[in-house]
């Protein structure tokens, strides 16, 4: 079997809130093979974005943030590197697309400047070469009149176009791993489909691996090879995309899938999961989903083990009652 390109081992991130340490993620593990897409799903506040941010070393190195575990890229633990050393990887081998296209671009610099920046820094291109590559990238993300658009400012672009620009920026140096943090959440549905399609196409072309964070099961179904379902900072189920949709194990995954409105089911109201994600400070001991679970029993006061589904090597879940 080939080595994974990117690998997260026992990643735990804690924040100090009001003098108390709270765990935002606990022992997150995943492997990413070449040209593979991993989706991380879960409700807001379950630790998805934090995980991605720490993969690029974007969490500030402060006394009130504590990170444990390993983030391995080609065998190098990124968590051990200084900011300066990290900059050799960020934007070059590893890059990221963010959720908010409206605010993620710098308003006072032209789109061209923002795309070519990483080319100038990482690939030591000349300005002319970078410009050529930049226009090529704009064409690739299907921005019409790329030449003209290259020297325009972000406010002259619509939301969907800005997200395309963000994608162009992220792809500029041909990254090996692309992190996409809810890249379609802020866009309207038709644009969402276009952006997803674009990402899939680009992935096929460049052979890159992708970690996509989303809470949209529809997105998962259309792009993912592997899925990581997170709840309250823990991975509660991980499996291949196919297995997850065909035979979900964890009650939370089932509830999430159930919450998707489907045209073939005639119902009066949308299904939802009662209650809210517990806050970092108010995490229940034992199974973290126990406060909202239908199958809750006495056992759930203890932390459930990670179980492997019989016959499916890479399908794991954390639950007592399956």
């Amino acid at each position: 079997m080939t080595e994974p390109v990117f690998c997260v081992k026992d990643l735990s991130i804690s924040f100090k809130l009001n003098g108390k340490w709270c765990q935002a993620t606990q022992n997150v593990n995943f492997d990413l093979m070449e040209n593979e897409t991993l989706c991380i799903v879960g409700e807001s506040g379950c630790g998805k974005s934090i995980t991605a941010m720490s993969c690029l070393g974007l969490l500030p190195k402060k006394k009130n943030i504590h990170i444990e575990g390993q983030v391995l890229y080609k065998g190098v633990n990124l968590l051990d590197l200084t900011e300066k050393e990290l900059n050799d990887y960020r934007g070059d081998d590893l890059s990221m697309i963010f959720q908010e296209p409206m605010t993620s671009l710098n308003p006072v610099l032209t789109v061209g400047e923002q795309i070519t920046e990483s080319l100038l820094v990482h690939k030591s291109m000349t300005k002319a070469q970078a410009r050529e590559t930049g226009i090529e990238l704009l064409n690739k993300v299907k921005i019409p009149e790329a030449e003209k658009r290259f020297s325009q400012y972000p406010h002259q672009f619509s939301g969907g176009m800005r997200q395309r620009v963000m994608i162009a920026i992220a792809l500029a140096c041909k990254p090996t791993v692309l992190f996409a943090d809810e890249p379609t959440t802020a866009l309207d549905v038709t644009i969402q489909a276009q952006v997803l399609h674009l990402l899939k196409e680009l992935r096929r072309e460049t052979k890159m691996s992708m970690v996509m964070i989303t809470h949209d099961m529809g997105v998962v179904a259309s792009v993912a090879d592997k899925v990581l379902v997170m709840y309250g900072g823990q991975v509660i189920e991980n499996s291949s995309c196919k297995d997850l949709f065909e035979a979900p194990n964890h009650p939370y995954t089932k509830a999430l899938l159930n919450a998707i409105p489907r045209p073939d089911r005639h119902i009066d109201h949308l299904t939802s999961i009662p209650g809210q994600v517990p806050t970092l400070a108010g995490m229940p001991s034992g199974c973290r989903f126990s406060t909202r679970c239908e199958l809750v029993s006495d056992q759930c006061a203890m932390t459930p083990d990670v179980n492997t589904v019989a016959g499916q090597q890479s399908h794991h879940y954390r639950c007592w009652n399956v």
Partner: protein
């Protein structure tokens, strides 16, 4: 850019008209008869009527307004009641002194205040930040005249580095003129440093928390590039606005500074005309101040266009 500048220029004309109207009304609603103020209680009715006619306040209000506006537009602010010279002549004699003082202290404030604020934002909660915040707090909390007096006592009287009093010095001797300008400009500049540094710090802190800074970091750009290329230009926008606004504050403080240093300037003129109840002079001075404040706003507006592409293109 040219079109943008012209548009801004045109837009400031109505502002100027409104300001002039307000000044006209203000001067008219001040209680007391200027004729009585000038001629005294014992003046006969005839003399009073004669005087009113001579300065044009016997006419109906709308006519006075038209005459006033017409005069101002032609650059005629009337005759000083105290000296008999034209107000324009009196003002333009001392105006360069006030302008050079104001401009010099803005330059001092910007040159020292912006770096101070920016670095204290970058090194937030480190030693340098505390030091810089203390310096700017000092600038903010000392009244202008107090700083002026302190500077004068130590730098001029004790150590004899600077002249104690300023005087009229012709432009033909620029070095001496600059030498006399130094201390007053410094004492006003210290206040500006305080304001500008505080604004720069908070503006930079806000910008450093923006999403596009995270994007810049995720591109693996060196720290200096993230802070200066991506951060600083964005932080500059609010800094410009507030520096423009502080100009009004500076003009007020310059009056006190000029008096403490006995510098020629609008300050001395204001105090003089208040003492002698020289209404036309006062009115002319307010018009002058208003004109420069509108001008400062215009310059601020135009400089936005240079820094922020959104302003230029939306127009």
């Amino acid at each position: 850019m040219l079109v943008f500048t012209l548009k801004r220029l045109l837009a400031s004309i109505p502002t100027l008209f409104a300001v002039l109207t307000v000044i006209f009304v203000l001067v008219r609603i001040v209680p007391g008869d200027p004729a009585l103020a000038v001629l005294g209680d014992s003046a006969s009715e005839e003399v009073i009527q004669e005087f009113r006619k001579s300065i044009g306040i016997d006419k109906p209000l709308w006519e006075q307004y038209l005459v006033f506006m017409g005069d101002v537009l032609q650059g005629n602010l009337g005759l000083s009641m105290a000296t008999g010279k034209t107000v324009v002549e009196e003002v333009s004699n001392v105006l360069p002194y006030t302008l050079e003082l104001t401009v010099a202290s803005i330059i001092i404030g910007v040159v020292f205040g912006i770096p101070l604020g920016i670095f204290s934002a970058i090194y937030r909660n480190h030693f340098f930040d505390y030091l810089a915040r203390m310096v700017s707090l000092l600038g903010l909390s000392f009244p202008a005249f107090y700083i002026s007096i302190l500077f004068m006592i130590y730098l001029s009287v004790e150590w004899d580095w600077f002249p104690v009093f300023s005087e009229y010095i012709p432009w033909s001797d620029p070095l001496t003129r600059l030498y006399h300008l130094a201390l007053p400009a410094l004492s006003l500049g210290v206040i500006m440093i305080g304001y500008v540094a505080r604004t720069s710090r908070s503006s930079m802190l806000e910008v450093l928390g923006e999403d596009y800074i995270r994007t810049a970091k995720s591109k693996g750009l060196p720290r200096n590039m993230v802070v200066f290329k991506h951060g600083f230009r964005n932080a500059l926008i609010p800094i410009l606005t507030l520096t423009g606004l502080y100009l009004g504050l500076l003009m007020g403080n310059s009056v006190l500074t000029e008096i403490v240093f006995n510098r020629p300037g609008l300050g001395g003129l204001i105090v003089g005309s208040l003492e002698s109840r020289d209404y036309t002079m006062l009115q002319g001075l307010i018009v002058t101040y208003a004109f420069f404040i509108v001008l400062a706003n215009l310059i601020t507006d135009i400089s936005y266009g240079l820094v922020d592409p959104r302003v230029k293109n939306n127009d």
